[in-house]
Amino acid sequence: MRKCNLFIFLLVFVIGYTQNKQVLYDFAGLPQTLLLNPGAEVENKFHVGLPLFSQVSAQGGFTGFSTYDIFADNGIDINDKIKAAVNKYGTAEFVSFNQQLEVLSGGFRLPNNDYLSFGFYEEVDFLAKIPRDMVDLFYEGNTVIDKRYSIKRLTARAEMLGVLHAGLSKKINEKWNVGARAKIYSSVFNVNTKSNSGSFYTEEGTNNIYRQHLDNVNFLMQTSGIFFHNEEEIDASYVKSKLLFGGNLGFGVDVGFTHHYSKQWTITGSILDLGFINNSKNVETFIAKGDYEVEGVQLIFDSNNPKNYWSDLKGEFDNSTVLDTLYKNYISFRPVKLNGSVSYSFGRKYDDCRFLIGQGLYTNKMGFQLFSTVGAVHSYLAGTLFYERWINKYLQAKLTYTVDPYSFSNVGLGLSAKIGIVNLYFTADNLLSLNNIYNAKSASFQFGLNFIFKNKN
């Protein structure tokens, strides 16, 4: 029956989302931490990222089940495993993918000691919340009489965009550091659907065996850059031109702060992507709404008056429902990301230490981070415990334990090495699943190469 396709569709997304970069956040004074908190403290004189390699990031996941749940070689019939996965599927599960590629990254300290950072990155973001009703309908068909298959929880968004940004990190005093970043978005494509309602169900008929219902259906999907009415060729140069301000344009801001509550306690926070995109090019919005019920075709066996039953049925359907395409501009909002942390630094002070690592006063830092996305499609919350330490004067490490909708056992690790002006970093999570990556419901990594110049003093 209707089995494997949906699962394959879901499983291919088992690498990336949520945009929670819990390992990278506030880690090692990396320039990239400014993208997660424009109010983060950096001690650079200036920095420049290796073009295309200063940050490569991919994240993703699916909350429903893992690849291993379906394809494990454990002697259980795959159909039984699919059935078990469907049975434990929640009311609605979400699948997501996010990828970022920093094309350009740089920054320098201004004469007034503020730090100006800027750059350009490309991002692909996909998120879909799939209601159980749709999985059931796909898996078992409409075989269950009177069961309502609702699209109420069906929401999705997908977009690809280029982001040009510039931000300022400003030290107010010894306790406060604040920052803000302005962003110009250039969208290659955008698709979103939300606030859908309505259901489909089948009941015993009166004049025929079954009666099918579409009940109060209200579906809307907005798209830009997906459907084309001219001869535009979709190739690499097209994507490049759209990323570089030839697409649908928008504007956004990030704000953040770092507050030293005491010498050892630090609080940070940021709000990212408070912004919108005005979708005006290649825009199409699809609408479906209405009620409809049908008991099939009532054959009348009148050879003198032959009927085109199917055409009549279609006409009835068209009269009862609205299927429309609009070409109207629309505004799409970026999913807002919230970060926060409380940390406690401890351990030997630099001055007392045999390492001359010149970064902060303490060798250890531990604390708690919160991450949340707030969006029309889906909101998400994750909590992270972390421990960060200077291993030696060249190397810093951060260990994280994260609880999020994917898992209660997400352990991540970040390493940042700096030799001379060269900084190389790598972060990844879900390390406990490394021995069986197929059992992970989510995974993410970031890596990059920077050249960081510090003040000689």
Binding site: M1, K3, N5, G296, V297, W310
Partner: protein, 132 residues
């Protein structure tokens, strides 16, 4: 009955549903369910025939359904096996033909006869999406 209220031996009707080729690799089985009720004291036979775009019959659903005289509600399920699925995709329209068997005593149905022949049907399609 015909226009002159005379008994006719058979009558047909046709339906032309769109058949979506994309489902072809995945359609595993088709199950027709036919529910009949006959209060006439005459036997009926019901035949479902598939016709191609040229109007030629290419497949007849087997077995032909026999509806006995004065029969209560009867349910008959007929399966189109996988080997016969390709016929569906060559089908342009389906024909339903009802045959009226002659009476044993030579009587015919009159316009005043209040007997009824009820026919309900449905089709269940079984897909298997194992192909990727």
């Amino acid at each position: 009955m015909n226009d002159f209220n005379q008994e006719i031996r058979f009558t047909s009707d046709f339906i032309e549903p769109p058949i979506i080729d994309e489902s072809k690799p995945y359609l595993e089985k088709v199950e027709f369910t036919v529910i009949t009720k006959n209060t006439f004291n005459r036997n009926f036979k019901l035949s479902i025939t598939f016709y191609d775009a040229f109007g030629a019959p290419i497949y007849v659903l087997q077995p032909i359904i026999n509806v006995p005289e004065n029969s209560p509600e009867l349910t008959k399920i007929i399966e189109i096996p996988k080997s016969d699925i390709p016929f569906i995709y060559n089908t342009k329209y389906f024909g339903f033909t009802i045959f009226l068997s002659p009476s044993n005593d030579g009587s015919v149905i009159s316009i005043s006869d209040t007997s009824k022949f009820d026919l309900k049907s449905s089709a269940k399609l079984f897909f298997n999406y194992r192909k990727i």
